[in-house]
Amino acid sequence: MASMDIRVGDTARAVSPAALQRSGSQTILAVLTGLAALASFAIIFLMLFFLIAYAYPAIRFNGIEFFTSGIWNIGNQYGSGTMTRNGFSAQPGASFGALVFIFGTLLTGALTMVVAVPLSLMVALSLVYTVPKRLRPIANALVELMAGVPSVVYGLWGMVVLVPWIGEKLAPWVTAHLGFVPFLGGSAGSGNGLAASVFILSLMVIPIMVATTRDVMLAQSNSLFEASMALGSTSWQAMTRAVLPSVRSGVVASVLLAFGRALGETMAVLMVCGAAINSYPENIFSPVNTIAAVIVSQLESALTDASGMAQRSLAELACALFVITLIINVVARGIMRGADRREGRAA
């Protein structure tokens, strides 16, 4: 939705006064797209508003504990009485600490970026500068195709192929032979966990990041690459010293967008993460959980909470995720626009 308003802005800039006079249909188009942009803003705002309103009892009940505790327990539904804090009540023994999920979300997201950013940059650079022109349409089609695969398909593949392989082959071998390295030793686990999540998320964000960074590099054209080559640089030097610094902000923005995507990804992660509750990962094979995944996996049990506080706490989780990704998106798009202006594109 946010991307729509960007495109609208560009159209508006591209329409010259003369063109406006020439055709009324242009004006109608401008008005319609303007309305659509406004509507998308309004929808985001309303969604956030209702989400917060729904989560309000949980926000009051949980207080700061929501961010400081790692214990998620909906309480005893057969227990007697209720537990009341700040005027809102939950089942006895309830505790809604989100730290495990917040930590898991940021950890899987960050590790995914560590894996995906260098790979994506290399693929994008070679797509722009070294892959023969004949093969580019094929390579580009492959990238678009990978970006378009529904996440549940990646998740299913992870579940039936990747997870068993990690659980039976990779993790036992690594923990046995490389166990002395921090975070590689200890329990090998079932294969569901951090490593599988990061692998699947990387598969999903790499095509997105390749496509966006490739477009930034294409917009900047060949000229800096050629300028560097004509000064007697190697193509590696031209890419790392001339091209990358000139597209730095565009790359940062696309990395942030991909980061936001990784944080919010639900199905694929849910299918391979091991759904950790009340425990932090011990090594790279340990089960983890993310905010998005836990909302889905805990929904059913939350519905058994007669006080409704478990559902409202899940909504509070959703708010947290919403705010995190919104901030990341806004920052990314701000950087991108600024970069366009500074580097003289699209203006």
Partner: protein, 264 residues
């Protein structure tokens, strides 16, 4: 259809710096340069003229192996630098481009400071000494007649310079790697007349130390700045000779038609 010009024999007292032999260039199946032969004497300015699309850029980019960067381009034949074929096996194109610099049609400074732009090449080639780099920077900017205009703001972005200054910066950047030959592909076509005349004066200076090959879309410019002129038409090298002979007594009818303005 290559006419050898007797004038060249008289000029061949200067050693041949760069020579294209039986050069054929293809983009996929398209034959863009057809069997071109040309020699460029040392410390001279050679202008390449011809209507748009005739292959001037294609030809000049073959002279420092820039076509290696175009995946669809294929070059056949040889280009001799001091008698040595730059397309021979075992020759590293990177060292060739170190010796044969290039300035492009559109000024393309890096989005870095003026200083970093000029010393980009020396740094790439391993020069780390700050004092040495400052010396190179000043010498190159003086060589490109830009020093006086930018000496107080070397740490400002190159993108803040005017188009003409940017192009002279690109020339300075090229001089900083101390090449033997400088190739220029319509270096003034994106510039206003005043900036153009500055660049033209500069080219006249450059030939004292370097050998210059320049593509130009303007015959007046070729006449003003070059010692030799070569005329291309539809991928063929039609005629080459001293600039005065090409403009006053062309041997080929097609050259004459072009000079007298019968093609674009």
């Amino acid at each position: 259809m290559i006419v050898t010009n007797p004038d060249q024999t008289s000029a061949s007292t200067a050693a041949t710096k760069l020579e294209a032999r039986d050069l054929n260039i293809y983009y996929g199946k398209f034959h863009a340069i057809k069997n071109a032969n040309l020699s460029v004497p040392q410390n001279c300015v050679m202008a390449l003229i011809g209507p748009s699309g005739c292959g001037k850029s294609t030809f000049i980019r073959a002279l420092n192996r820039m076509h290696d960067l175009t995946p669809d381009a294929r070059v056949e034949g040889s280009v001799l630098l001091d008698g040595e074929n730059i397309y021979a096996g075992g020759i590293d194109p990177v060292t060739i481009r170190h010796r044969i610099g290039m300035v492009f049609q559109r000024p393309n400074p890096f989005p870095k400071t003026i200083f970093e732009n000029v010393v980009y090449g020396p740094k790439i080639h391993g020069e780390r000494n700050k004092k040495k780099l400052l010396e190179i920077c000043e010498k190159s900017l003086r060589g490109a007649a830009l020093w006086d205009e930018v000496k107080d703001r070397l740490d400002r972005s190159a993108l803040d310079l005017s188009g003409g200054q940017q192009q002279r910066l690109c020339i300075a950047r090229c001089l900083a790697v101390d090449p033997e030959v400088i190739l220029m592909d319509e270096p003034a076509s994106a510039l206003d007349p005043i900036a153009t005349s500055k660049v033209e004066d500069l080219i006249d200076e450059l030939k004292k130390e370097y050998t210059v090959v320049i593509v130009t879309h303007s015959m007046q410019q070729a006449a003003r700045i070059s010692d030799f002129t070569t005329f291309f038409l539809m991928g063929e090298l039609i005629e080459t000779g001293t600039t005065s002979s090409i403009f006053t007594k062309p041997k080929d009818k097609r050259t004459e038609d072009y000079i007298t303005g019968r093609y674009g």
